[in-house]
């Protein structure tokens, strides 16, 4: 294990990629210097940030001489390089399972869900700012795929085919996850791991943004899994760092079925 130096984390909201690094740092009880990079103000495309992370993605972790920009491998790095409880399973089959699922969350489910997020939240929120500034900032984005996503979000230009495929993937992803949680209590197997943290930074929003598909009747095991994670002090601490209303989506998880009925 390396000598612990105080790491510096550039992050946005406790959501998706930035949330992964914030949550593992909190779970391990690591003291870090946090810098909030306002994604909606395009701060991730400013020269000083691009000097650290030329792709302009969030988060970035600086630890001594090491600069890390890929959020999921970053979680494994943090778990291995710092003292504290371990969240990587000790069993190789469970490590394989955890990694497969993390890729599934990152590359299959996240893009499907984020299309709705860009349409419903990021586009409208960015439009509250000066459109000229935003357009100019978009033109400076290094990654073509990101530039395209921002343009579509600003002008609500997602095609029906894209939205429909994104919904299909989302529903299929929920189906696979529910089936997986019938087999195991946690993503890797018997214990809470990086895989659960990764999935939670995405999944905490399922019940509030897609209540018709993710609820106590249709996906009881996912709801139970979300509640078990939500009860962890590190989760509460991490989500308290949120500055936008995204963080409030955590509360939809805690609403139990009976309370739902009372509400109706």
């Amino acid at each position: 294990m390396m000598a612990p130096e105080r790491p510096v984390l550039y992050h946005w909201e406790p959501n998706s990629n930035p949330g992964k690094a914030m949550l593992i740092l909190a779970e391990k009880g690591i003291d870090y210097e946090g810098h909030y990079v306002d994604l909606l103000a395009m701060e991730q495309h400013r020269p000083e940030y691009l000097a650290l992370n030329p792709r302009g993605t969030i988060p970035t972790l600086v630890h001594g001489q090491n600069i890390l920009t890929e959020s999921t491998p970053m979680m494994e790095y943090i778990d291995a390089a710092f003292p504290g409880p371990r969240f990587t399973p000790g069993n190789a089959i469970e490590r394989w399972r955890m990694r497969w699922w993390m890729r599934f969350f990152d590359s299959y489910l996240a893009p499907a869900i984020s299309m709705g997020g860009w349409k419903r939240f990021i586009g409208p929120a960015a439009l509250e700012r000066d459109i000229g500034d935003i357009e100019a900032a978009i033109d400076r984005i290094p990654l073509e795929a990101r530039r395209s996503a921002w343009h579509k979000a600003l002008h609500d230009d997602f095609s029906e085919a894209e939205l429909s495929e994104s919904q299909r993937r989302y529903r299929y992803g929920l189906y696979l996850l529910e089936a997986h949680l019938c087999r195991f209590p946690w993503i890797a197997g018997n214990d809470y791991s990086l895989g659960d943290m990764n999935g939670f930074t995405l999944g905490y929003a399922f019940p509030s943004v897609q209540p018709d598909y993710c609820n106590d009747c249709k996906t009881p095991r996912i709801m139970d899994w979300l509640r078990r994670i939500c009860a962890r002090p590190a989760v509460r601490k991490t989500w308290s760092l949120g500055r936008t209303h995204l963080a409030s989506r955590l509360e939809a998880i805690t609403v139990k079925p009976d309370a739902d009925k009372e509400g109706i």
Partner: protein
């Protein structure tokens, strides 16, 4: 004894073959031709072999160890490095391990999306053209999961699409330059030692001197040329390539579900 279900030693299928040989693991080899299983249109045979149905990805290598189905070719490499005794194939240093995962997640996926379609266009498409179009479409529309259907359809759509072909070709040139830069500092892609990162990248590019010789040659990518020679001189790599039944593994491509699955929308 672990069982490996695989096809010709190229791209996704080559990765676990090399890693298992490097570790000196005895395994039972089960050869499956995905071009046959994908397009066998008799209803009772459509992807019906138990080996294929057991593979959640339906295409690509599958390793059975201790009753568990291990799939996903990069994660399979991590698993083999992790689980079996024998020579170290992955560094213990957390930052070097991060670099390996970064390569698997970015360069590995990128290469799969480029090399696969270009190889399929050259070698698989002519075979598909000979099939009856109605039967081909019927087989395609029955193909599961949907992501796999999409990548096979994308191969058929490459027919005559010079613009898409040029785009893939140009992106591949960029990826090769990225690999050339990674080899600036060392003979191997991560740190000073041979690792699963080298197996990952080699498996995806070893066919390129034949497939796209204009992009990979001593004048343009000298470090990659030396890297391929170093890899090919390893006994484990030779043993893996010798498992070919066609004698030309460098001509055997299927789209593979992984790029479609992992590239998102």
């Amino acid at each position: 004894m672990p069982a490996l279900y695989h096809w010709e030693p190229n791209t996704f299928y080559l990765k676990p073959l090399i890693a298992l040989h490097e570790k000196g693991v005895r395994f039972s080899s089960h050869y499956i031709d995905p071009t046959a299983t994908a397009f066998d249109i008799r209803p009772d045979c459509l992807d019906a072999s138990i080996e294929v149905l057991n593979n959640p990805e339906r295409e690509g290598p599958m390793l059975i160890e201790s009753g568990e189905v291990i799939c996903g070719s990069f994660f399979m490499l991590e698993f083999i490095a992790d689980f079996y005794p024998g020579p170290e194939l992955a560094p213990r240093d957390p930052m070097l391990y991060y670099r390996i995962q970064e390569i698997g997640q970015t360069l590995g996926v990128q290469l799969a999306t480029l090399v696969g379609p270009l190889g399929c266009e050259r070698y698989l498409l002519p075979k598909l053209r000979k099939r009856d179009a109605v039967q081909l479409n019927a087989a395609l529309s029955a193909m599961e999961p949907v992501e796999r259907r999409h990548v096979w359809q994308a191969v058929l759509d490459l027919e005559g699409n010079t613009q898409e072909f040029a785009r893939l070709h140009s992106k591949l040139a960029g990826s090769l330059q990225e690999i050339e830069s990674l080899l600036d500092a060392s003979d191997w892609l991560v740190g000073e030692d041979y690792s699963i990162a080298d197996i990952e990248v080699f498996s995806m590019i070893h066919s390129l001197p034949v497939l796209t010789p204009e992009l990979l040659h001593p004048g343009c990518t000298p470090k990659i040329v030396s890297f391929l020679q170093r890899m090919q001189s390893r006994p484990a790599v030779r043993a893996a390539l010798a498992m070919s039944r066609t004698g030309h593994p460098e001509r055997c491509f299927v789209p593979g579900i992984e790029p479609s699955r992992w590239l998102g929308l």
